[in-house]
Symmetry: C2
Subunit: 143 residues, 2 copies
């Protein structure tokens, strides 16, 4: 069941788990949608900070996708967690870079926002400095 | 700019090209959306044929994404080409498996169809036996 995908000159292996007849030689395909999202917005943030002559020490992006209960199984919601560490005076730049990526630059975010609620939170030096997941749920209830 | 993505136990490398400050150590992120699509529908087809006790000799999937002219750059159309080789009497099974994946099983296809025209063609033993791209364009005109 293994597929070797050639993507701009690089080969990626995809495979199914053993339980569906694969050999688990690579990731299953569907989460690549989430991978595209993290790479897209993550690189935006790095590029925006670099352009301003700034950089963070660590940057970890976590992503969680809710899936539909019945096939065809698709994502019905996505939540991103941006975890960064760096100088305290970079906090505002980090907030602005992530906001800029989410609102103006990241095409994968824009595509996904057309079909599902995409929320994100930002943890800087261990402190949560932004989270629109709660707001989003409240909006859903009021709507 | 390199990101190492951990996806169900497997690590994928993403990177930007040199011109935007990356080192080209891995694919850029956005096409992972297309990779997810090819892996999803490709594995469906293999699984469906296996369940029927059948298999093809070769299977290549090509995918082409149209992108928006302005940022945020998103896909605005996708065309898949399924190229398979195998026994002549499998042609109908192949057609049915791909149709079943596209209409009923592949969650990535379903997500993408919500936001863009997704078309596909099937080439079996070198002969094009299905193509809904032309139909799709005609539908667009008549609509």
């Amino acid at each position: 069941m293994q597929f070797n995908a050639l993507v701009n000159g690089h080969t990626l292996v995809m495979d199914g788990p053993e339980k569906v007849g694969g050999e688990n030689n690579g990731p299953i395909p569907k989460p690549f949608v989430l991978t595209a999202l993290t790479g897209c917005t993550g690189m935006d943030v790095i590029v925006l900070l670099r352009k301003a002559g700034k950089h963070v020490k660590d940057f970890v992006l976590k992503v969680e996708g809710e899936i539909s209960p019945q096939p065809p199984i698709e994502y019905t919601g996505i939540h991103l967690v941006y975890e960064l560490n760096g100088d305290e005076d970079l906090q505002e730049d980090v907030l602005n870079a992530i906001n800029n990526s989410q609102e103006n630059i990241c095409g994968v975010s824009k595509m996904l926002k057309r079909i599902l609620p995409l929320t994100w939170e930002i943890v800087y030096n261990g402190n949560q400095i932004f989270n629109n997941k709660k707001n989003h749920i409240l909006e859903d209830i009021s709507g």
